[in-house]
C-alpha cells in the first residue's frame, strides 16, 4: 500500500447534528463558512470543522493508546501533548533525537503532530471539513457525488427547542432538597434565609433554548489526506476510527443522541483519481475494515503490546521517562 493516500468520506447523519457557530441570547446557529460556488462566487454554507473532527480523532486515538497501555496515567505535560497536541514554549532547543524518539515510541503523535518545548513535530494528516451534498457545494465534492438537483443546505436545517427544568420547583422533587419544608433536619429560620440568599445569587435554572440543527438523513463529504505514513502510523489512525465506531457521534449534544453517524471512507493513492475501494466503514456502531486497514491496525496493536511489555519490565528507560514524565 502506498504510504500517501487520500480518503474520500461519505458521512450520513442518523440523528440531527448540532455544530454551533454563533449564538444570540438563547438561540444558537449552525457553524457556517464561506466557500466558492459553481459560478466562482463566494457562498455561505454549513461546514463541520476539520479541526473539530481532527481533535476528536486525536482524543480517540489517545484513549485507545491509553487503554492498551493498561489505563496508564500521564504527567500533565504528556497528557496535554497526547490529547491536545501540546504547546510551544520553554527553553528547550531543537532536538532531532528527541523528535525521532517521540515518533518511534508514539506513532499517534507522529500522525497528528504536536508542540514539544519550542519544537513543532509536523503531523502527517490533513483533515478536511465535512460539506453537505447540497447545491452550494457541488464544486467541492467529487464528481460521482454531484447532483444538479441538490437542494440548498438551508433546506436541510431546522430549529429545535429544548427545555431545561428546574427540579427544585417540582413539588414531587422538592422533598429531596436540603432545607425544604419537609426536611426534618432544617434549622428553623434558616430555610427562609437560604431562600432569600438563593434568589439573589443563583441564576435561574429553568430555561428554554433553541439550537439550529442539520437534519437526520443529511449526507456530507469529507476529504482526508494521509502523507508518508508508515504501517504503524496508519494503524494509529485506524485505531482512532475504531474507537469512534464504539460511539459514533460527532458534534454537540451527543448526550441527547444528536450527531449519530454512519461513515464510509474509500481510498485512493495520492495523485490518482481512481478509487481503490472502501477503506473503512462505520455503520450502526459496527466497524468494517478493509484488508490494508486491518493489517495496519494489527501491526499497531502488536506494537502497543510490545510497548506495554517494555514499559512493565522497565527495560526501556527512555520510554518510562517519556510516559511518566521522568518519575
Amino acid at each position: 500500500m502506498s504510504n500517501s493516500i487520500r480518503l474520500d468520506g461519505k458521512i450520513t447523519l442518523l440523528s440531527p447534528l448540532s455544530h454551533i457557530g454563533e449564538s444570540s441570547g438563547i438561540d444558537s446557529f449552525l457553524s457556517t463558512d464561506t466557500v466558492i460556488g459553481m459560478d466562482g462566487r463566494p457562498l455561505e454554507v454549513f461546514t463541520y470543522s476539520g479541526n473539530a473532527f481532527r481533535g476528536q480523532l486525536r482524543d480517540l486515538g489517545a484513549s485507545y493508546l491509553t487503554e492498551k497501555l493498561g489505563n496508564i496515567k500521564y504527567s500533565p505535560e504528556l497528557f496535554y501533548l497526547l490529547f491536545s497536541g501540546g504547546s510551544l514554549g520553554g527553553a528547550q532547543s531543537v532536538d532531532i533525537d528527541q523528535a525521532r524518539m517521540y515518533r518511534r515510541n508514539i506513532p499517534l503523535l507522529s500522525v497528528f503532530g504536536g508542540g514539544v518545548g519550542n519544537q513543532i513535530l509536523t503531523g502527517k494528516i490533513k483533515v478536511g471539513a465535512m460539506y453537505p451534498l447540497t447545491e452550494e457545494c457541488q464544486r467541492i465534492i467529487p464528481e460521482h457525488l454531484r447532483d444538479e438537483n441538490a437542494p440548498s443546505w438551508k433546506q436541510w436545517t431546522f430549529d429545535k427547542s429544548f427545555t431545561r427544568m428546574d427540579d427544585a420547583k417540582n413539588e414531587n422533587m422538592r422533598k429531596y432538597l436540603t432545607g425544604s419544608e419537609t426536611d426534618g433536619l432544617a434549622i428553623a429560620g434558616q430555610v427562609e434565609a437560604d431562600s432569600k440568599k438563593k434568589k439573589k445569587e443563583d441564576p435561574p435554572q429553568q430555561m428554554r433554548y433553541t439550537v439550529e440543527m442539520l437534519a437526520a438523513g443529511a449526507v456530507m463529504y469529507q476529504r482526508i489526506d494521509l502523507c508518508d505514513l508508515s504501517d504503524l502510523e496508519l494503524g494509529a489512525f485506524v485505531s482512532a476510527l475504531t474507537k469512534l465506531s464504539e460511539h459514533a457521534y460527532i458534534g454537540g449534544k451527543s448526550g441527547t443522541g444528536h450527531g449519530l453517524v454512519d461513515i464510509e471512507y474509500t481510498w485512493r493513492k495520492a495523485g490518482q483519481k481512481d478509487s481503490e475501494g472502501t477503506f473503512l466503514k462505520i455503520s450502526s456502531d459496527c466497524l468494517w475494515l478493509s484488508e490494508p486497514a486491518e493489517e495496519a491496525k494489527k501491526t499497531y496493536d502488536q506494537f502497543l503490546v510490545a510497548l506495554y511489555d517494555r514499559y512493565l519490565e522497565d527495560n526501556a528507560p527512555e520510554l518510562t521517562k517519556l510516559l511518566t514524565g521522568g518519575k
Binding site: 466562482g40 476539520g50 482524543d59 504527567s75 496535554y80 504547546s87 514554549g89 523528535a99 519544537q119 489526506d225
Partner: protein, 229 residues
Amino acid sequence: MQPLKITAVLQDGRIAGVDPYFPLDSIMAAEWMRRNHPEAYYNASSHLLTNDMIIPDLPLERIGGGEDWYFACSFNTIPPISEYVMHWHKRFDDQLEQHIDFAGKRGKVDIKSGKNKAYRMPLVVQLFDRLEWFAVGDLEAVQDLVLGITHLGKKSSQGLGAVNYWTVEEWPEDWSFVRDGKLTRAIPIGHGFPVGVQVAKMALYGIRSPYWHTENQMVCMMPEVLQRD
C-alpha cells in the same frame, strides 16, 4: 527549460495567509524537501534548516548569482475573490482528566493563561477559485513535483488550502518576473528595473525559500497588489 503556466484549482477556495502571493518556488521547495530529506522535513523544525540550510534543487531556471539569486517563478497572479477572518479553537480536554497523574500534588490546570490556555485564534482566510503562476522550467519535472502538493498555505492540517488538481502547460511568453510591464514577483533592487517596467513599490521581502528567513530577505521591487477588476 521553457516558459510555463502552472495552475492549482482549489477544492473549496479557502487558503489561510495574509498576502496573496504564495510563491510557488517556496511551495515546491517544501515538497522537494519532503521527498529528498524526509528526516529533516519531519524531525527538524525550521530552526535546524536555518542552521544547516539545504538548498532545494528545483527544476526551475535560476536568475542572478551570488547572494541574490532567485528561481524564475512568479508569485500567484490571481487576486483573491474575498477575504475574511475565521477562528480555530484549542482547549484542554478536561473531560479526560482521569488520565492525568498529578503525582500527589494539587491537581490544578489553568486554562486562562500559560501553556494550557484555551485558544480562539483568528485566521485570515482568502478565497480563490484557482491560483496561477508563471515560470521557466522543465515541464515534466515541475508536473511531477506539484502533483505531490495536496494543500497550500497555513493550517492545511485542518483542510485549508486543499488543491483539487494541478495543470502545468507550455506558455508562449516568459512571465516569470514581468507581465505587460508589471512585475510578477519580488526582484532584488540591485538587479535594476527589468525592461518595460517603469515604476515599482519597494519592500523588504524574501527572494527565495525559505522566504521568512532574514538571510533571504532584501530590499526588493514588488509586484502590484492584486485586485479584481
